[in-house]
Symmetry: D2
Subunit: 347 residues, 4 copies
């Protein structure tokens, strides 16, 4: 079985393992205060073109989302996001468990617009009884979205503008950030995100690390005391070196970019193979996730050799499914898939 | 500088890194449902002599404590523990953040007794206004305690008996469990803990793993739905294989026992060296943490070459300090320390 | 200005005030353990035709909802309800503040169906990754709904059946319960609710009391320890007598029924007056809330003398508005309104 | 049986009931936005000699404490208080249920000192690992304390100074505030409290109201959005007029002061009667609660005619007990008690 069902089914970039081996016996201080974390922070600040951002390392996406959101919001506030947002649908109520309502907005290809956010805020504040409803206190976006799509610089700038006009922190979940930065047509850089967002994270788990996410806080008001909350929510890794070392390794010699581009290129090949057969897609994704709409027969045909992910029914005979590539996907596996797609029956 | 200040300042047992290397490209399902986790579970069930316990893997101690305690308690309940308990003093209010009061009892050498627990429960239930106070809903113990000491089988049996009489789950934090199992005079086995406790964890972070704790649930009422809470609290590692593989490796060929005994033996050597100089100890610890009471001068003398941990002032001129050994402590480093202790001035 | 905008804008039934005066100097135990509470409990048990239900008194609807829901759910569970449900839209995130997600279902006239609940439960349990989503742990209904509509006995029985098949407690918010019991076409009694629900409340604030809601728990598993949570959430009134006395007074001589029927009769008169003019309604409400769809001009005309509540825009020139009657609405005020409706211009 | 066991066992000052009767049919806006609330706010601002304080009305003490504390603290902060503080011992974990640890300090006669607070803050901030412990985020005091004692102006000023130096809001629980203001030797006024505290409340439930507490917020940073939290925590009374009317009535013609002085005068008489018999007291209380230490025989003798409250054992044959007077205590009942105390056997 060749597996395309997710982007976290293998280990880490070999350079990371190599370095874990080399440093295994070094004695370092715990909890993120070691030289590896410091070195990784330095690299991130350089990439963000901002020497004053705070950088913290956490272990996974849900943990990062719940810690950041709990740090940002006051008790009567909620977080605006796409109805397809990970925090709304796939984190077992992690945000609500911190006491806050997720305020979903209807999404289009996984995205929400500045106009929607503005309308939601205006509706809240002009409601005479707004104190009887949850006050929107921040905006959550994913980049790429859970549907593989991207906000353009124009779209993100508009969202950022609305947020600033209403004094709402803007938070961007970058679980697959590398794949977004590497995508054709993506026009946003880390430096842009640093400017446009108040806090975001650079995903490691899905892009070359064993685990780990790097939180970048550019808003001065959100910086103080974040480490208390990391500890309180169980996210302060004792051997913090492991996180610093991984990001330090991924961010040297442009490894993060290189492996992200690799995944995106392979995903594009899969996309094109399907498209050539006249297959349509649920979302127009330029990143490492592709959502072709296949007939039951086509699914059966491909599933003999390939694992992929059921996504959602489209009509009685067709479902959207998900194929993911990742930094570790092998070109030969994709070539095999392309050959089989070419063989696939299309009415 | 030779470091004895904590037991989590290096990487992992070489066998773990070796196996991470070997398996790095394997594609496995995520979230703890891979063959490595399954194999580790099997080994743990065998060691616990109980084929029906549930075993889950989490990443660190605070995360484990908050997840287990939130799973056990109802909203109006709190957790009884020693006032020196980690959950009471060193987890940044992690338990309270889940909505529950920590109910500290005065401790002796880090321990509480069955009599204290019984008295607390009787006091609660005979109080006419008990509904105005927090209902004790479980008991938390650490083994070894935060002070390095151990409950005897008799003490733990008495505690377990009280808990069962009052229908209170008993939870044991085993962050340093191996060092307790390996200690001279310790008379409890994993099978005993499985019988006497309702849930406990086998610590990996401080005993040979990069990170990781294995939760063992023997109480049938606590088993259902635990994975929801792991996900919700950010503790369900995407690449769950990493946790399974580590425990699988530690628990094969008695590695966990071997490296624990190593640490305890070295700690004993340090203890004896201090004792021979007439130094007394804050707690009578038979495990990997030692708490000698040193004069300012002695501290200054030793701190030129060795890192150790300030603990608490004893009198104007003396403080208790902490020396830790671990699975990775080198015998030659201990020998160097012993030589210097022998040189240390004692009035 | 004659006010029809809500049903809680006056004080209490005169019999309540009279009795407060008579008993003002009596010394009674606090916290709901006085003879007045006991007498009210007895009356409620008789009306519910169930001598074993637990009855508790709380002060308001949001407080009741959050206390009951926090008592029922485990930390990884959420509450299914209509998207128009009060807990979803008008309680400032009170449920999320207890750590639980509200799981809204699309509603029709404020109602959800047994089929919808069943489908939601089946979808959850057949999802391979259900542990990554919030587990539905109870169902919340309002009777009457926030839109003034009623579940029929058949509908509620079907909902109750689904809940029992899936072991989900069913909770019914009866903030306006009297108006539902008094409505034409309503075919449910307190005894029915006691049988079909696991817990519900009899609203006092909107039906003759100064404040107060009576929680009726019929499920044995939900009975223990509820008073702890009342105290913890700030809902255990020191002078509990005030709540018992009010319900005791409302439930003697069928006062609760009489004043509810009064409100429903007046609401029907308003309904018919609008209908006679060809006005249509947003929801088919047989209870004390009416939602006529009026043109801007009609609204302007009526608002010169009457206060009513904006509800939602229907088209550019029309909005649904809300007229409420209550136990204290005066017939002469309704007659005045009827006369003006008759004068109202209709194109 | 004549009852001295608590100060909330009767109804309300007759002037309040009278006014409830007179206004019962008035139609007013809900949720604290009516003219009665406005009038009460005006009176409170005048008494506080501060026209800019925010004033909100809540229903009871636990509700007030949990709402204020949840509004003040950030998620990683806790509240410093006396170990005898109501929030630490008698509110069923209400504060922890909002996610925050109560940080108790050893008390003397129910009081803590500026020195203790300063020491706790210094200890926190100089701890290298302070991020692993709960950050003190505010200070909670009661005035009078739960033991009936008072902070002097000097003591409260010192506490306020420490709090301001460390940027910690100071919150004062005034459940029995009137009895403190009325006490002999008390040297603090409402205007003083407004200046020295950031937020405090004026208790109504125990001083002449059916129920109700008036929160006074003088700190500008704590003012915004408080009403959201009132609603979310179930504390926004629908018929808010009831709260405004009660405080408006209590604060006109100095009723609050008059009835408080009455209670304090009677308590003093009880105190002196005991003292004259050589009885000693657990705490030196100048307010409406008295804590004489009585032998078992004396308790038996008095309990034939009088209800009082067991407090705590002192030695094998003696217990401290509590006698409370209140605004509604009748002088003739106290005279009866005095006569019996005079008859009481004293060895």
């Amino acid at each position: 079985m060749i597996r395309f069902e997710c982007d976290y089914n293998t280990g880490a970039h070999p350079a990371i393992l190599q370095r874990l081996l080399e440093t295994n016996e070094e004695q370092t201080p715990g909890y993120g205060e070691d030289p590896y974390c410091e070195s990784a922070r330095k690299k991130i600040r350089a990439l963000c073109q901002n020497e004053t951002v705070d950088v913290h390392f956490l272990m996974g996406g849900t943990q990062t989302n719940l810690t950041v959101i709990a740090a940002v919001l006051r008790p009567w506030q909620g977080v605006l996001c796409a109805d397809t947002g990970h925090i709304n649908v796939h984190e077992s109520g992690a945000i609500e468990a911190t006491g806050h309502k997720v305020l979903p907005l209807p999404s289009r290809n996984g995205k929400i617009s500045a106009g929607q956010v503005q309308a939601a805020l205006e509706a809240h504040w002009k409601d005479e009884n707004h104190e009887h409803t949850v006050q929107p206190g921040m905006v959550f976006l994913a980049y790429p979205t859970e549907n593989g799509t991207l906000y353009s610089r124009e779209e993100l700038t508009a969202l950022s503008d609305v947020c600033r006009r209403f004094h709402l922190p803007l938070y961007l979940d970058g679980a697959r950030l590398g794949y977004g930065l590497a995508a054709n047509g993506g026009d946003l850089s880390l430096a842009d995100l640093t400017k446009l967002c108040d806090v975001f994270y650079i995903g490691g788990t899905k892009i070359g690390a064993l685990f780990g996410e790097a939180v970048v806080i550019s808003s001065d008001t959100l910086k103080p005391d974040f480490r208390y909350l990391m500890k309180q929510r169980g996210g302060m890794l004792a051997k913090g070196r492991l996180l610093g070392l991984q990001f330090d390794t991924l961010l040297e010699e442009d490894r993060y970019g290189t492996i992200s581009r690799h995944a995106v290129r392979l995903a594009r090949m899969i996309h094109d193979a399907f498209a050539q057969k006249g297959i349509s897609f649920l979302y127009p994704s330029p990143t490492n996730q592709q959502f072709p709409i296949l007939s039951k027969g086509q699914q059966a045909f491909l599933s003999r050799k390939y694992a992929f992910c059921p996504w959602e029914p489209v009509d009685e005979n067709h479902d959207a499914v998900r194929f993911c590539t990742s930094w570790s996907t092998r070109e030969e596996d994709v070539q095999a898939l392309l050959a089989d797609i070419a063989q696939m029956e299309c009415p």
